[in-house]
């Protein structure tokens, strides 16, 4: 006969019932009875915990379903809001005559040449491109400001629509130590009667008259050199034979008319 201790625990408890009926052994079972009562208390607790867990699982399942439903409602509201916003923005664009262009707008502007730097009205241009910023703005604002939200003068990179809008002598590049050029304007561009204020500008043609040297070019590499090291680049690139006042004006006007989006 196998020893009780070698049986699985459930088998031992079954055999206890058998032996209780078979022999008077209650006097031997004090510890076993105590253990049995402890087991019964724990079984009751185990049952209560299981009921609680089932209840929580039901609650979790209901909350998950509610979460999905609310997420769908949010997505639906966002979609409806986006359509509404698109309609409003379309209407605002039409009412304010806002336009769109896939290619830059070209305008004229001037710089002054001082020693080894090219200067705009307030800032030096160390390279032939510039991104505008407003002294009154916080990062992320819609630059340049429009509808009088800053200034005067309002912010942005300025350019004129026509060379004749400049003072006499500028258009033909006759003024010393000055450069006249064509800039391609991109990003937000605010159109005015005579010119533009832009978010970004890059120089696409340039006529310089500095210390008796003249350079007229629309080559990107030459424009880059003229902005980075103007004095030495002007001497190196001087092309007096093709850079008279008429040629300068003709090249700038031709460059300004390129890539028009109408």
């Amino acid at each position: 006969m196998p020893r009780v201790g070698s049986q699985p625990s459930s088998k031992a408890w079954e055999m206890l019932q058998v032996y209780r009926e078979r022999y008077p052994i209650d006097h031997l079972l004090g510890q076993v009875d105590s253990l049995e009562r402890s087991i019964q208390r724990r079984e009751a607790r185990h049952h209560a915990i299981r009921r609680r867990l089932e209840s929580l699982e039901k609650e979790l399942s209901a909350a998950t379903a509610e979460l999905d439903a609310v997420a769908q409602e949010i997505a639906g509201s966002r979609t409806a809001g986006a359509l509404l916003i698109e309609d409003i923005i379309d209407r605002v664009r039409q009412e304010n005559d806002e336009r769109w262009s896939p290619i830059p707008i070209r305008g004229f502007r001037v710089w002054r040449i001082e020693s080894e730097a090219v200067w705009g009205n307030q800032l030096s241009w160390p390279e032939p491109r510039l991104e505008s910023r407003c002294l009154r703005s916080v990062p992320g604002e819609d630059i340049p400001h429009s509808l009088g939200r800053c200034g005067p003068p309002a912010c942005g990179i300025y350019a004129l629509k026509d060379l004749d809008f400049f003072p006499a002598g500028v258009a033909s590049c006759e003024m010393r130590d000055m450069a006249v050029g064509v800039v391609a304007l991109a990003g937000k561009v605010v159109e005015h009667e005579l010119g533009y204020r832009a978010q970004r500008a890059s120089v696409v043609a340039l006529a310089i008259h500095h210390r008796g040297h003249r350079v007229v070019t629309d080559r990107a590499s030459e424009i880059e050199a003229l902005f980075r090291t103007p004095a030495s680049a002007i001497e190196r690139l001087e092309n007096n034979d093709v850079s008279g006042p008429n040629e300068a004006r003709a090249l700038l006007e031709r460059s300004q008319k390129e890539d028009k989006w109408t």
């Binding site: 005559d97 806002e98 896939p102 309002a154 300025y158 990003g187 005579l194 010119g195």
Partner: protein, 36 residues
């Protein structure tokens, strides 16, 4: 620089032009030379 009254906003969104190489199959048949 006085540039006159503000007229409108123009949004310039430069689009990159992607030019993909196009491979054209040559389906011409070889011409047999006629020998007289």
């Amino acid at each position: 620089m006085d540039i006159g009254k503000e007229l409108r906003v123009i949004v310039v969104e430069e689009e990159e032009v992607l030019v993909e190489p196009v491979q054209v199959e040559d389906d011409r048949q070889p011409v047999e030379s006629k020998k007289d």
